[in-house]
């Protein structure tokens, strides 16, 4: 991914995904993702800033395609890594996250529809018997694969739009 211009796109993708991973797994700091995935958007944004810095040095121009792809690929790499870390910590942890969630809901659980409570109890049983829930792991992995690249692309496009805000002109509708 290193071009003869000296621009290494892979290093920008890794930089962006490192920011996403750090902001998603570090305790306390990961609360930032509770604000519409700001940590993931920040990762995509940072990846594009890193790419733009390299491109300026190499005297090449950043494009929207570069920005979008840096955000998406950073998100994809971060989604796989974060899911892997989550799965490993779930398997080796003695804590049943569903039991904890049910305790957190407390009295609110009584007002939930019975189907939802049954679903939660089924997931809780999975954790008690196997130490993990395949359904939850698969769903978490798939939702990460959707959320990280989506918000990463938003961060990447936002950064590119800001960097190129005075430089782009598009042809009218064609």
């Amino acid at each position: 991914m290193t071009e003869n211009t000296g621009v290494n796109r892979l290093s920008s993708v890794i930089a962006g995904s490192t920011v996403m991973i750090a902001l998603s797994i570090l305790p306390i700091i990961n609360f930032i993702n509770l604000f519409f995935c700001s940590g993931i958007i920040a990762g995509g944004f940072f990846g594009v800033l890193s790419l733009n810095r390299q491109m300026r040095r190499a005297d090449t121009l950043l494009t929207y395609k570069d920005g979008f792809l840096t955000g998406v690929l950073s998100g994809f790499l971060a989604a796989v890594t974060v899911s892997g870390i989550n799965i490993i910590s779930l398997i080796y942890s003695s804590v049943n996250p569903i039991s904890e969630a049910m305790q957190f809901f407390g009295n609110y659980l009584n007002s939930m529809p019975p189907e939802m409570v049954n679903q939660l109890k089924q997931l809780e049983n999975d954790f008690n018997t196997q130490g993990y829930s395949v359904t939850l792991i698969l769903f978490t992995f798939l939702s990460n694969l959707l959320i990280f690249p989506l918000f990463g692309a938003a961060g990447g496009l936002l950064a590119t739009s800001i960097i190129l805000r005075n430089k782009s002109t598009l042809p009218p509708d064609s």
Partner: protein, 160 residues
Amino acid sequence: MNKKIYLIFLSVSFLWTLLIYIAPVLNTAGGFPATISDFIYIFYSKTCHQIDERSFHLIGEKVAVCSRCSSVYTGFLFSVVLYPFIRGIDNLKMPPLWFLLAASAFLVLDVFLDIGGIFSNTFISRAITGGIIGFILPFYLIPGTMNFAYEIFNKYIRNK
């Protein structure tokens, strides 16, 4: 071309916001819809704390994200719908950067003044600050998405 890209952008925004508000409705329906609702709540738990007392409620059930996030996404959708009327689909010039910075500053202030114990944010302050940033964001993201699509389809011309 612009219209197609705009419609894709609108559809994704609409679907994302619809799922937020449809989750409580499916939940009260029971049976299979309630199971789908569970997965919608779990999906959005990746993006939001979903605390009950900080969330809007629909037919007695909280929506899939908190009041701030609901306002961000609803404001975003509202802005995407209005974009052609405010800017025109073919006008892809972005507003000045300070619009985005000011909207972000309001939201960050609302969060950090509350954390610092200086000012307790309220349901209304969270909804307003979230709604503002949600409304502003498409004015930067839609031009970016359209420029990106032009580059992909080789119809892009850049002023150098």
